[in-house]
C-alpha cells in the first residue's frame, strides 16, 4: 500500500448536459470544476455516481473525463470514476483516464449477476493492472448491487500495489471501524455517505467524497476544518446546520437534486439523463428553502 495522496473534501461535480441536444456540455463541466477548486476543495472527482458515469456512452465519457481533468489543470488531484458492467470496458475507461492525466481512478463494480469473491478480485486486479495510477475501490451497494466487505477491501489493497484507497458509501460506520482494524490504520478510507460526514471523520476517515460541495462549499469545508482542529462542538454545530440539505440531496438522488440546486444557484447544467427526471417544482422549492436556511 502506498501513502495516502488524498485528504479532505473531494468534490464530485455533476456532468452537465446541453438542454438543446442532451449531449455532454463540456464547457459547463469545465466551469464547475473550476468553481470547486476555487472554493477550496482539496480534490475533484468527475464521473462519479453524481456525474452519471454509468449513463454515458464511451464517446461522452471520454469527453467528460478529458474536460474535467484538463480544467483542474493540476491545481488539485483528480479522481476519475468508472462504473462499468464489464471488465473490458472498465479497463478501456481506466486507461483513457490515465492518459488524460488523472491523479487516480475510482472503480465501482456494477453488477447484474451477483459476483463472487473470486470474480471481484479478478475484476479489480485486472483493472488496476492495466493502469499505473492509484486506484480507489468504491463500495456502494445501493447503487451497484454488490457489497464489498471490509475484509475484501483490505485484502485487495494488500494484494494489489496500486489499490491504495477505499471509498465507503454503505452508510455503516462499523465498516469503517473494520477497515481501520484490519489494516492496522494503514489503509486510508473515504466517506461517501453525506449524512455520515461528521461521524466518519470522528472514526478516522481521510476524506469526504461529496457532491454537496457544488451547492454549499463553505459549510462542507468548515466541517472538515473544525474536525481537523479538534473543535468537536463547532463541527457538530456546522454538521447539523447543513444536515437538512445533505438529507435532501441523498433522498432525491444526487444528479437530480444537485442539478436542481445548481439551477437555483444560477448555473443551468441541464436535466439528468432519462429515465432520471428533473426535480419537480414542489421539491425544487423545498430545496431552495433548505439552502437558504443553511446559509443563515
Amino acid at each position: 500500500m502506498a501513502a495516502p495522496t488524498l485528504e479532505g473534501v473531494i468534490a464530485y461535480p455533476v456532468t452537465p448536459f446541453s438542454p438543446a441536444d442532451g449531449q455532454v456540455d463540456t464547457e459547463r463541466l469545465a466551469e464547475l470544476v473550476d468553481r470547486l477548486i476555487t472554493a477550496g476543495c482539496h480534490a475533484v472527482a468527475p464521473l462519479g455516481s453524481t456525474g452519471e458515469s454509468a449513463y454515458l456512452d464511451d464517446h461522452e465519457w471520454f469527453a467528460a473525463a478529458e474536460t474535467a481533468v484538463g480544467a483542474a489543470a493540476g491545481r488539485v488531484p483528480t479522481v476519475v470514476g468508472i462504473a462499468d458492467l464489464t471488465t473490458r470496458n472498465a479497463i478501456r475507461r481506466a486507461r483513457f483516464a490515465e492518459r488524460t492525466g488523472a491523479s487516480a481512478v475510482m472503480v465501482l463494480p456494477l453488477s447484474y449477476w451477483k459476483l463472487d469473491e473470486r470474480e471481484l478480485v479478478r475484476h479489480f486486479t485486472e483493472i488496476a493492472g492495466a493502469v499505473g495510477v492509484p486506484v480507489m475501490v468504491y463500495n456502494n451497494p445501493a447503487t451497484s448491487g454488490v457489497d464489498l466487505s471490509p475484509e475484501l477491501l483490505v485484502a485487495l489493497a494488500e494484494r494489489v500495489e496500486n489499490i491504495t484507497m477505499v471509498k465507503e458509501s454503505s452508510g455503516d460506520v462499523q465498516r469503517m471501524h473494520r477497515i481501520a482494524q484490519l489494516s492496522g490504520g494503514e489503509l486510508p478510507f473515504y466517506n461517501g455517505s453525506n449524512t455520515l460526514a461528521l461521524e466518519a471523520f470522528a472514526a478516522g476517515a481521510s476524506g469526504w467524497c461529496t457532491a454537496a460541495a457544488s451547492l454549499i462549499p463553505e459549510l462542507v469545508l468548515e466541517l472538515y476544518r473544525a474536525v481537523r482542529l479538534g473543535e468537536l462542538d463547532t463541527a457538530r454545530e456546522v454538521f447539523y446546520r447543513q444536515l437538512p440539505v445533505l438529507q435532501f440531496l441523498m433522498r432525491g438522488g444526487l444528479p437530480t437534486t444537485v442539478k436542481a440546486g445548481l439551477a437555483l444557484r444560477g448555473l443551468d447544467v441541464g436535466a439528468p439523463r432519462r429515465p432520471l427526471l428533473p426535480l419537480d417544482g414542489v421539491r425544487t422549492e423545498e430545496l431552495a428553502g433548505l439552502l437558504a436556511a443553511a446559509a443563515r
Copy 2:
C-alpha cells in the same frame, strides 16, 4: 390489455461467445434456439438475464437478436429481452427487436440511481410507445436493483395498451396473488423464479420463463403438462426431481451454470463475459451429478 399470446414454457437461451475472440457466436446461438423449439418449448426468449443482455454492446446485441429471431423462424413466439440503464438505448434496442420480427419485447428497468414511480412509468411508457409489439414488463429486483410492485405492474398494463404481460422474478408468490387480484385475473403473469415453478403454476401463472429448458427440457415440459392436466401429485413429483438442478442453476448465476451445463451436454458455448467467470471444476462436477440424478 390485449389477450395473452404466450403460455407454457418460455425458454431462455444463453448467448454463446466464441472461445477464440469472445465475440457473439451467432451460429451456436441459432443452434440453441433450434434445439429449444425442437424439444417442444412453447416460446423462446433470447437476450434475457440468462442471455447476458446487459453485458453486450449495441452491435453484439443487434447480431444476437437478429440471429435468434431468425432461427425461430416463426415456429414459436419470440420474446427479446432488453435491460438498459438509459431510456434512449432501451428504445433503440426495442425498435431493433421489432424490426427483426420479434413477437414481443421484455423490458427490465436497470437502475443505478433509484427510480421513483414517476420515472418508472415514463420509462416504460416511452419504450412501449416506440414499438407496436406487445411488451412484457419484467420485475427482477435482485438483478435490476429496482422493485416493481404489483400495483405498479398492473397500473402500467392498464395505462399502456401494448403492455400486456408481466414477468415476476422476485420469488415471492404473494406478488402473483396481488397481480391476479388487482387485475381481476385479467393480466397474464409469468414466473421467472425457477425454484417457484410448481407454486407459481398453482397460483395461476400463464407460463414459466426458464433457462433450465436448455439442460433438462423433458422435466421442465413435463411439469407444465402435469399442472395443466391437474395431475398435482405428478407435478409435485417431477418438480422435486428437478429441484436440485434448479437450485444449483440459481445459486451459481444462470449464464455461468447453464453454459457449464451445455458444455457437459457436449455443446461448447464459451464462457460468460468478464467479470463473470466460468464455473470451476468442483462445481461443474457437482452439476454433472445433479443432471445425472435428475435424469434417472
Copy 3:
C-alpha cells in the same frame, strides 16, 4: 421420526377474555373448540400465536389448556402451543399440557437475546425430553425473533425421538422444499402462513395451521378437500375467494382480527390483551365486507 399423526386443517382458536375483568373466559373457549370440531376441522390447537399464549400468566395458561383439551374430548387431536422465553417455564407448560391429555405440544422458541444453534438444540431437547407426547417445532421468525433453518429443523427431528413435526410460518415456500429434500420427504411439515395455503399444499404440506377456520371454516376445508382430490383449478378458485380475508387477518394480527370477526359472527370473545387493542370501527367494517364477499 415417528409417523405423522396430523393431517388437514388444524384450527387455532383465540383465547377469549371476559369483557368484565379481562380474565380467561373458559366457557367461551370450550364453545369455540366445539364449534371448530363440529365444523369438520381435523385438529384443534389452543394457545398458539392466535391464542395469545405468550401473553398469559401461568395460572391463566393452565386454565386455558385444560379447558380446550377437555372440550375436544378426544374427538380430534389437540396440539397445545407453548411460547416461553425461558426453558424452565416452557418445560413447566409442556408437562402441564401432557397431563391435560393433549395429543401433542407445539413449541415456539421466543427470544430476547439471540440464540445460537447450541442453545436452540438444548432448549428443544430439554423440552421434548420432559414429555412423552410428540413435539411440533414451530418456526415463526416474525413473532419469535428467531429463525429456525430447515437444516436445524430436520436435524432436531432426526436427533430427538418425539420431535416429529415442524410448522413453518416464515412464509417462504423454499423452506418447505428444503425440509422435504433434507428429510427425504419423511418429516411432515405444516404451513402456518395463511396466504401461502394453496402453494404449501402444492409443495406437499401435511396440513394447514390456521385461525381462519374460526371465521370461514367451509372455505378453509374446501381448499383442503380440493387439493387432496387433485382438483387444482377448484383449489385455486376457492383459494382466491378466501384470500382477501386471509390477507386481512394476517395484516391486522390474528388475535385482533379474529376476535373482531367472531364478534361479527355473534360471538363475543372480548378484546385481545393490552398492549393489543381491539380492531377499530373502520377496519371492522372492512372485515365484515370481506367476510360477506367470500361467502358469496
Copy 4:
C-alpha cells in the same frame, strides 16, 4: 419535556444467579452496583437487557430492583429497566421500581404480535401515567421486535410529561440525527449500541448506556472524558483500543459475555438463564485475550 437528569456513562450490571439454585444472587448484585459507582460511572441501570430483565419472574425481578436501587443508596441516579409483553405487567413493575426509590424507569416494548402506533402510544402513555418518575423510552428492535421511529419517540416525549429521555440501540446514527432535528436538540438521547459509542457522542448523545463498564470501566470513562473535553484524537484512540472488546460483547450477547468476563475478573456471577448458555471455553479464552490487549 423536563431537563435532562442523566449524563455520561450509564452502567448496566448483569443480574447474578446463584450457581447453586439459579436464583437471583442479591448479595452479588449489590456488590456489582457498588463497584460500578466506585469506578466512577455516572448512573447505574439494573434490569436492562444485560440484566436479563425479561427472563425474570415477578418475584425475582422485584428482589433485583430493590437490591440494586438500595445498593446505589442515592450516590448516583438509578434507572430500572422494564421489558414486558403486557401493559399490565409493565405497569406493575414500573410502580414497584418507583417505590424502591429508582430515579427513573427505562421501558422497552416487547412484542409478539406487531404493535401499531396507536398501540405503542397507549402502552407508553399508560405506563408513564402510572408513575411519577421520569421514563426513558428504549428502542432496541433487535431484541424487542418492535422498531420505534424517531418520529414516534419525539412525539411521545412531547405528549407525555414524564417521558423525558430516549435510548437508541438500533445502531443507526441517523436515528440520533433525526431525534436531534425533530426535537430541536431538546430531547436528550442516549446511545445503547456499544460499537457506536464514539460516533454517538460526536452526534450529541447525552450518555452511553453500557454493560462494558463492568469489565473495562477506565476505558469507557476515558472515552467520555476525552469527548467532553473536545479531545477528538484521544477519544478516537481510546475508542479503537476498546473496540475489540465491545465488538466481542455485542456479538456474543451481553449477559453471556459480561458474565464470562466478570468470572475472568474473579467475580462469579453464575450463568445466564436458559436457554442462554455460558460462554464456551474457546470464546472465554478469546475474551481474556481481548481484555488483556485493551488494558495494555
